[in-house]
Symmetry: C2
């Protein structure tokens, strides 16, 4: 597997960062994950805009590698060299505040950010989507900037681990009796025929799939509201599902061992998934968009 | 500078970790900082107990390198080889859940933790302690396990940066109108003659210096209470100071540009500091304690 790190393409086994990297010392960075369909990214600009906002909010200057043309050139090479031009994959990008002697305050201006990018084959389980999955609830003890896609992920890690250890697919965070989101997914419910999800405030990540599904609901005439669900509403939902870049639409048929709705995936989740899938397939075959096409201006810093 | 990483002693410039280290990807780890006086650690067991508790709480098995005898042997070599047997220094130790393909849930059992240790010359500013320093307040947006010394430090990083950018020494976190702690310090106030600090619950780190100062207050007959200060109480304190392994006792004479007390360091802070300093000096000269002395059983894994 070839990855990109700070201007070089390297085998992953050789890709190493200094121990003083602020990602390793402070969790001082942001990341992004794109879905790749036949080598083309789905909603590339939405993910990039979120990354740029995250960098602005935590005050890391946009690295040169992440100027859009360069970013897509790097991605294109990872896709081609790792043989990901067909079928499905994910593209992972992480940016940290770079390596510098340990001080809580920022390192001197000019300290180069660390930029790591990797692509790998990946496809969500179709079987699981058809059967539905179990989830558990966990107290949402995370910080109050969950709108930023930072690498401050220990509570997410521990929530996911508890889910997996109990045979569930994910943990749904609940703060003050209100459902926020999953450990790496948005949570949607159907209550009285209305699609519901938490508003995009500082308690949840503004999910790209979340935004696409709300648009699809609007396009298909499915009533939707960005109104939080209480935990008791969640248990009375006719349908519940998780949504995200690596989950698409994943029906949840039980939570904390209590059956949700009919105990089977519901029609709203299926309708949304089919349209999402159609749009992903369209992005995959849209080879004229050029967003991930090879460009002339390959980055000069790249070690070939 | 020689550091320790996963069984080897290396120049810091050569010490690198895989990009897939969970410290770098998730902020999935804990750390500890000891103060060294003439090569001897101050309160070594209190720091080690806190580290062990943190590892237990986030479910990282205690690495073999951190069995106490081995840990002190590694520390001793870092102290000797970096010429830190006299004067003052800090010892930094970080443990992450190791390197593994990225999944939120834990990697397979047996995945070795990453253990990084480094020592460096360090002494708090005596000038600053004598003059007192300015602080600012910041909303405490951190997660609800601040009792764990994890590397989930982005809010601390941003708070400290805001302080430094405004000419202050630290940011004091305030949650729901209550003073919790600094970005890497405990906060103490003297109100109506009583020493006050936040109780050691999940909102603050159980600081080693904090615990020592409460013990000293008790020994010296200074009345103290682990009762939170409101922000308005903070502004009416006769004295305010920060305490921590890298700050000892640091008087704060203004907060958000408002003068605290007389605007000068006060007698309680000075009394506590003098006794803390005496105990640190005693630890430094206590060469019979053997806690950081070279042992026969040098770790077999160490690459010399």
């Amino acid at each position: 597997v070839l990855i990109y790190l700070n201007g070089s393409f390297l085998p992953r086994s050789e890709a190493r960062i200094p121990v003083e990297d602020r990602g390793f010392i402070f969790g001082d960075g942001v990341y992004e994950v794109w879905r790749l369909i036949d080598g083309n990214a789905f909603e590339p600009e939405k993910h990039l805009a979120r990354l740029e906002r995250g960098l602005r909010e935590i005050e890391i200057p946009l690295p040169d590698d992440l100027q859009a043309a360069r970013l897509w050139n790097i991605a294109r090479r990872l896709i081609v060299d790792n043989d990901l031009t067909s079928d499905e994959a994910t593209l992972y990008l992480e940016v940290t505040r770079g390596a510098a002697p340990r001080t809580h305050y920022y390192p001197p201006p000019g300290t180069p950010a660390t930029v790591y990018m990797a692509a790998a084959r990946f496809k969500p389980s179709e079987t699981l989507r058809r059967s539905g999955a179990a989830a558990i609830t966990q107290p949402d003890i995370r910080w109050l900037r969950c709108d930023l896609k930072t690498i401050q992920l220990l509570p997410n890690v521990m929530g996911k681990q508890r889910a997996v250890a109990s045979g569930a697919i994910d943990a749904i965070f609940v703060r003050d009796g209100i459902v926020t989101e999953g450990t790496h997914t948005s949570v949607f419910g159907v209550i009285d025929g209305v699609l519901r999800t938490h508003p995009a405030d500082h308690h949840v990540l503004p999910g790209v799939t979340r935004a696409v599904l709300l648009q699809i609901a609007s396009d298909l005439g499915i009533p939707s509201e960005e109104t939080p669900m209480s935990l008791s509403e969640l248990f009375e939902a006719s349908e519940l599902f998780l949504a995200g870049t690596t989950n698409d639409v994943l029906p949840i048929t039980s939570v904390d061992d209590r059956v949700i709705g009919t105990g089977h995936p519901g029609p709203v989740a299926d309708q949304l998934f089919q349209e999402l899938r159609a749009r992903m397939d369209a992005a995959g075959s849209n080879r004229d968009s050029g967003q991930l096409e090879q460009r002339e201006d390959r980055p000069a810093t790249v070690a070939d």
